[in-house]
Symmetry: C3
Subunit: 426 residues, 3 copies
Amino acid sequence: MSQQQDILRDAMRRLNLTRDAFSERLGVRRRALDTWLLPADSGESRAMPEMVGKFVAEILQREALPASGADARPLGQRIAAEGRPHLLSVAQFNRDSLEDLFQVADVMQPIARRQKVSRVLEGAVLGSLFFEASTRTRVSFGAAFCRLGGTVCDTTGFTFSSMAKGESIYDTSRVMSGYVDALVVRHPEQGSVAEFARATNIPVINAGDGPGEHPSQAILDLYTIQREFSRMGKLVDGTHVAMVGDLKYGRTVHSLIRLLALYRGLKFTLIAPPSLEMPAYLVDLVARNGHVVEQTPSLEEGLRGADVVYATRIQKERFAGEEIEGYTPEFQVCKALVDRVCKPDTILMHPLPRDGRPGANDLSIDLNHDPRLAIFRQTDNGIPVRMALFAVLMGVEHQVARSMRDAGWRSPAHIGPDDAEFDGLD
Amino acid sequence: MSQQQDILRDAMRRLNLTRDAFSERLGVRRRALDTWLLPADSGESRAMPEMVGKFVAEILQREALPASGADARPLGQRIAAEGRPHLLSVAQFNRDSLEDLFQVADVMQPIARRQKVSRVLEGAVLGSLFFEASTRTRVSFGAAFCRLGGTVCDTTGFTFSSMAKGESIYDTSRVMSGYVDALVVRHPEQGSVAEFARATNIPVINAGDGPGEHPSQAILDLYTIQREFSRMGKLVDGTHVAMVGDLKYGRTVHSLIRLLALYRGLKFTLIAPPSLEMPAYLVDLVARNGHVVEQTPSLEEGLRGADVVYATRIQKERFAGEEIEGYTPEFQVCKALVDRVCKPDTILMHPLPRDGRPGANDLSIDLNHDPRLAIFRQTDNGIPVRMALFAVLMGVEHQVARSMRDAGWRSPAHIGPDDAEFDGLD
Amino acid sequence: MSQQQDILRDAMRRLNLTRDAFSERLGVRRRALDTWLLPADSGESRAMPEMVGKFVAEILQREALPASGADARPLGQRIAAEGRPHLLSVAQFNRDSLEDLFQVADVMQPIARRQKVSRVLEGAVLGSLFFEASTRTRVSFGAAFCRLGGTVCDTTGFTFSSMAKGESIYDTSRVMSGYVDALVVRHPEQGSVAEFARATNIPVINAGDGPGEHPSQAILDLYTIQREFSRMGKLVDGTHVAMVGDLKYGRTVHSLIRLLALYRGLKFTLIAPPSLEMPAYLVDLVARNGHVVEQTPSLEEGLRGADVVYATRIQKERFAGEEIEGYTPEFQVCKALVDRVCKPDTILMHPLPRDGRPGANDLSIDLNHDPRLAIFRQTDNGIPVRMALFAVLMGVEHQVARSMRDAGWRSPAHIGPDDAEFDGLD
């Protein structure tokens, strides 16, 4: 973390200050701070005066919580599951450990953006066990591991021959653990990934256990909110998040709302048709933590004033032959609606895939050219977040920065032709 | 491109001279030229006198087109698709850019033949999206990427869960592009790979879009013809190519004939049963370019005098319940027929797979020991050609030569026990 | 092989001496020898006095067979199949070449245990062709290849499109051989992998050809017995092995008994229900080699006194609609039975997968905490054994030791929470 923008970003996070408040605190102009926060290879980036660096360090020492709160153990130990280096649930995180993870993800960004290459995991092998197919998630984890220098052995399919022959999860897990250095497991049954994890001491990451959890998705969602807000000079504390769609079965929104509840003074608007509302225990948990929760079946009303709109798809397979009362095509989040009720700096998020067919009750594709659409910045952020998870669970997070060298091939400045100007910069 | 055989081969290509004509032009014996063209590690290879090198350079300067014609832009830009580094169609090439690509493929040969190792793409990740299975093509692209130092994330299968849920090609492409550095896509629908390409700025290679194109196959086919002819001292200009089999639906022959039409004065004999003839628009295009085109349903008549026989398989699945008039077992290209009507230096090609069962209307397996059978030299050439495509699209083609080091493991001199003496040498 | 424990272990193997006998031969205390045999990084390890090293070398020179018997050719040549570097059958090994392979596997252990990293195969590509699925075997080979620095291109599935279209094994093998540097092939038909091997000069490893062989499994089984015995100070010669279960169709036990028969004076107890007995030709072969063979349908009787219990699963799919006389639930090898009739140093092995469901006629999961259960030490040993096979067939076995560097990431001391104290040490 030697780059000045990483130091400054981390300082703002630990002091919980916006850019405006931070520049005031330092006694510098906001404009100067902005140029120091640009990537080093940007034409408008400026080197921060050495004295500023010393001032920031002193402020941190006096005023901020240490990076890891009162807890000086390595991050991998602080988030451990029953003493082992697994990631099974978002419940393993508190606000401090989450922000420390984000700091590691920030360090990964130059690699994720193909400017740098690292080989810290050279020689390590990832076992990717997908008992149900999920191309997106599998490739995201696989690419993240490869970008740290490791290699991947994939397995996809519902009926692995061995388990069909009566092999226990215990056996499968322990055998695979002798072959590889970390496991990413997706399985249709809730709790099954935890069962995998209990049979091994190597890191196991839950990539979705049916109705259970998919923690890395919620973590990358929150990381995205933080980065978007950092660009805009906003804070997560006190923000207004609208969640839309299937809030009953969507494990993504369940995990995300639990992470957001670690922050202070948020307002949640939960917009779902009557039969698909957020489970009461989660609403209670969020309210108990001091946040405001509003529930409404009206999309137009619910979106008004939100800083973040988190839309989800109705998974029709959940409702074979069941009527979903009140869930009509007007439930679609489209450009006309967003222009009407959202703000110029609202960000639109989605766990993907979204249903892009005409008339789908989902985030509409007519928003593809709108820079508020953050869905691909979300998926892009999956790489640095998953790199950070691997690095922390395998204990190499402090070796990454000094292991980087320039990438040898040519990469586009913007990945997608419709990417916003600021994409890939920050 | 520091090796003398690469320099000489390139000079002959740019001057469009056979070995005989080139040795005459230089005033050296053909035999001497042959020894300079042998691989450096061959026992009979000789170093070319320094003066010859200077003479060749002067001739090139005065007489030849520059390597890139009048166009001095990098090859990747010259073959770009709508300004982006994709390979979607053979129409992206002209003769100059094609020959420049072949020159890059020549540089790759020592790596493809396992004598050298390169890591120019170390840290890069290839996404391989096969919406229909094709083991051969997938592994060929994957191995080519690995031999440049990269790693591969594979996906095979017709129904990726996301796309089955209504996700657009736009979303799939943009999401995957945030994970990987290049995409190879096979898809059953014509035009779908171009749709993938429009949604991203990272390189996309079309590995077959149904009845559309499979450009890398046609390119490796032509590269094979060039290399075979180079060994024999023949030129592509003026040659006689016989194409056999299903010329109506075979996208391979469609793309190949378009590439061959970039050369001068060829004669094409198109041999197909009545209902499976080459589409008229392609026959017209070739004729307009000044080539001679003959069509015949008679195998015996059509093969006579051909320098290249390009056989294809009848894809029976295209004709469920339909009679194919005139397509009888005598349509098989077997050793007896080849010995009767072909020349000692005719080369026999095929895009594979071929139907090796007795009585199949395909290139017969009784030719397996005949050195004219070039089908495995064709597939072997898939590696250097695909390496060249990746290198050019990712802008590392000029880093490869100086990145090479010796391979550490032992490889066989000939890959197959039935390989011709000259296989793997050239 | 510079580490003293490798030198000492190899000496005991070549002299065929237990630790007791070896320490007596050297005139040192058994306890001293034990400390020299501990891994260098163990707290209780001691450096062996230089004089002891010289003494051992002299004894070996005078008394032992040379490492490679009378045969000084490289191991890859000694085990070649029809002159080519394939592994198709355990019949390619004799006792000398087997023990030389084990010595290479010992060298691989620090890499297999994630303490060291090697890149000797950097740039090499493995083609993994599984015409029937076998996650475990595929990942074991793949991870082994990756741990030597190579990369893997996988293919799984019964109907590869090309072979379904009539492509011969000859074509498939030769084409793939032009793409990759070694092939691992599993195929449901006996003899098919040998057919693959005949079409190529690159290494082909048989990963199971239906009822035929799966040689690497038998080799890792025997390697496991040797290592377990080495820890206990026992020799393979003269040991008592009980084989349990489906001895008629289990290719694993067929290959293992043939390897064990290369040793001297063993006693085999073959325990199978009447219709599933070991084929007579194998019983005869073992008996002819001077071993004692007993057959019994009684589990309780058969296990008594065994040093090794090798249990196998009844593959129920082999008996659709057939009654298996005498094969009742009492056939299960469970903790109560093992405690009653086995010894404290008996080792329990199984080729896996085992049927872990209640009442299954298989090795019971109630033994999971019993250190005699060696099944995961077996699968762990699959990595160094398969690394050794790749290294020997590709001619890099002598480059591995000097290529090692420390692994950069953190690995658990014990892979599984139920691993025995001595697991991962030895």
